[in-house]
Amino acid sequence: MKILDKYFTAFPGESPVFPLAMLIQGLLFMLGLWGCLAIYNATMYAVSPFYFVGRQLLWLVLGMGLMMLCARIPFSIYRDNVELLTVLFYISLLAVLIFGVRINGMKGWFMVGNIFIQPSELAKGFFILALCHFGGKFRPGMRRFGGMALITLLWVLPIALQPDFGTVLVYIAGFVIVYWLMNGSFWHLLLVPATLFSIAGWIINFNPYLLNRILGYLCPELDPLGFGWHIRQFQFTLARGGLWGMKWGKALWANSYLPLAHSDSVFASLAESLGFIGTFPLIVVMGILVFAVFKLSLKAETEFRKVFVLSIGLLFAAQALIHISVNVTLIPATGITLPVLSYGGSSLLSTLISFGIMLSAAGRHETISSSKVNYNQE
């Protein structure tokens, strides 16, 4: 590991071999291209097979540019304007409930011309930044937990009203990650599942549809054509893929039976075409990316930055794993994209911008006077 450490360095110029930031950017670009292929694979029988992939490719190029730009901006600018950024993004979350358009039953998009912007996606990185910033202002212990939980609750409330429970889950994962990295208590964190289960139980009490959805997940064979339908379709799609896959472009089941094969079901769609052998490496590559972010976080100067850098990487991993878990029927179905790979400009740009800010936080563009600066002081 010592030998590897020697080669892992935050930015070019600091070490002649294998700069870590370049590795992360390269992996993200590779995953983005992989995503374009996956989207084409999932939509090649559509009326316009190049419509989605063409747009995604444009978003990818734009996103890579924005990531590099965000990485060049000194982190102090983000840090000094975190309150303003938080307010702006929070207003956008509220505004979308009034001025937004409803797609697939969710009122979560602004429509500008023929472009749809999803503020809950774009706000993810800034939510982590806000949580790191405001979390540091609370005294450690229950007060910090309560404060950060309150911020999270306020943030996810408009998203839950859209309603977009998949994204709510990602935000809650973000809160758990940041709180834990800021020396949070395990016992405090136990309150999160306890609260979630209580709220879920209360909602289920008034909404039998959700109960049926959960029953459909637990026993899809009870109602295979009703509430077990989606779970069953994911299972059939994976089974068709087998070990080696059906062949590229032969994601027929995903195209015919899965909801949004190019977005919320893109992993299953890939599994049908490429099989276990073709999709498992995707999980490995994502794992390498997260490990690279972990190594990068150790290079960051202050604890505030360390926490922020790693939280972005882990939030990416959590969202990817939620998507994959839904697609392999490990957890009940909820609409969530596979970051960087799924179709969607907001999701792609949000992830790449977050990584850009993360790279800025890990970089050494600023002189930090004291080596003992922690996230409370910064």
Partner: protein, 231 residues
């Protein structure tokens, strides 16, 4: 600083372990469905989506002793709007789009909520309609085979009638019945995957048995003799 860095490293490692265990669990689930239990789920899936069907073999012609064709089969394609959960607005939108290609299309009720929009669509129009069929799954182009007989009442009575049974035409009266075993061919059998709207999935059509066309029958009477009743 060392302590806090160590602490961060420990907590970060704990989270990374959680992520790793989660990823391993998801990979195991993926392996289970795609390799271990594959056969079982493939069979269950095929029960829902894979259908066997028969296709028309082509009935032989009936000729008079001068080789004049008295009865033959013709294939047509009709456009339907088949019932589903779609709302009225989508149906009207579908009809509006159809009328851009087939201006004389109109709703003719054939069953509770099934409508015939246009009979006998020309091949070039079928190609133009194809994108609409994907966009509006309620729209269907269905093939129809008609048995034609030269247009004289005496000849029609003499030749007789056919009916569709098991995907093929079978004679039920007259010459059509007498020579049915020669005229009727053997239906082809195919297998195809259907999507959730019960439309065929492109590229999944598989021939299971080739259709064998029926043979022509040549009568020992002429058209004029049939018309005048000399049989």
């Amino acid at each position: 600083m060392e302590n806090s860095t160590d602490n961060f490293k420990i907590r970060a490692s704990q989270l990374l372990w959680c992520i790793l265990i989660w990823a391993i669990l998801a990979s195991c689930w993926l392996f289970y469905y795609s390799v271990f239990a594959r056969q079982k789920y493939m069979e269950l899936g095929n029960k829902i989506a894979v259908r066997q069907g028969t296709y028309y073999a082509g009935r032989g012609r009936i000729l008079d002793k001068n080789d004049r064709v008295l009865a033959w089969s013709e294939k047509y394609f009709d456009l339907y709007l088949i019932s589903s959960e779609e709302d009225q607005n989508i149906r009207n939108m579908a009809l509006h789009k159809v009328m851009e290609i087939l201006p004389d299309a109109a709703f003719h009720r054939v069953k509770d909520s099934d409508f015939l929009l246009k009979r006998e669509i020309a091949p070039d129009k079928i190609l133009e309609l194809e994108p609409l069929l994907t966009k509006f799954p309620d729209l269907k182009i269905l093939p129809r085979t008609e048995r034609k007989v030269v247009d004289y009442a005496e000849v029609r009575n003499y030749i007789g009638r056919v009916e569709f049974k098991d995907g093929n035409q079978h004679g039920v009266s007259g010459i059509e019945k007498d020579y049915d075993s020669i005229l009727a061919g053997t239906c082809g059998i195919y297998e195809v995957m259907l999507d959730r709207h019960k439309n065929w999935v492109q590229g999944t059509w598989l021939l299971k048995r080739k259709a064998i066309s029926g043979n022509d029958v040549k009568l020992d009477v002429s058209l004029d003799e049939i018309k005048t009743g000399v049989k």
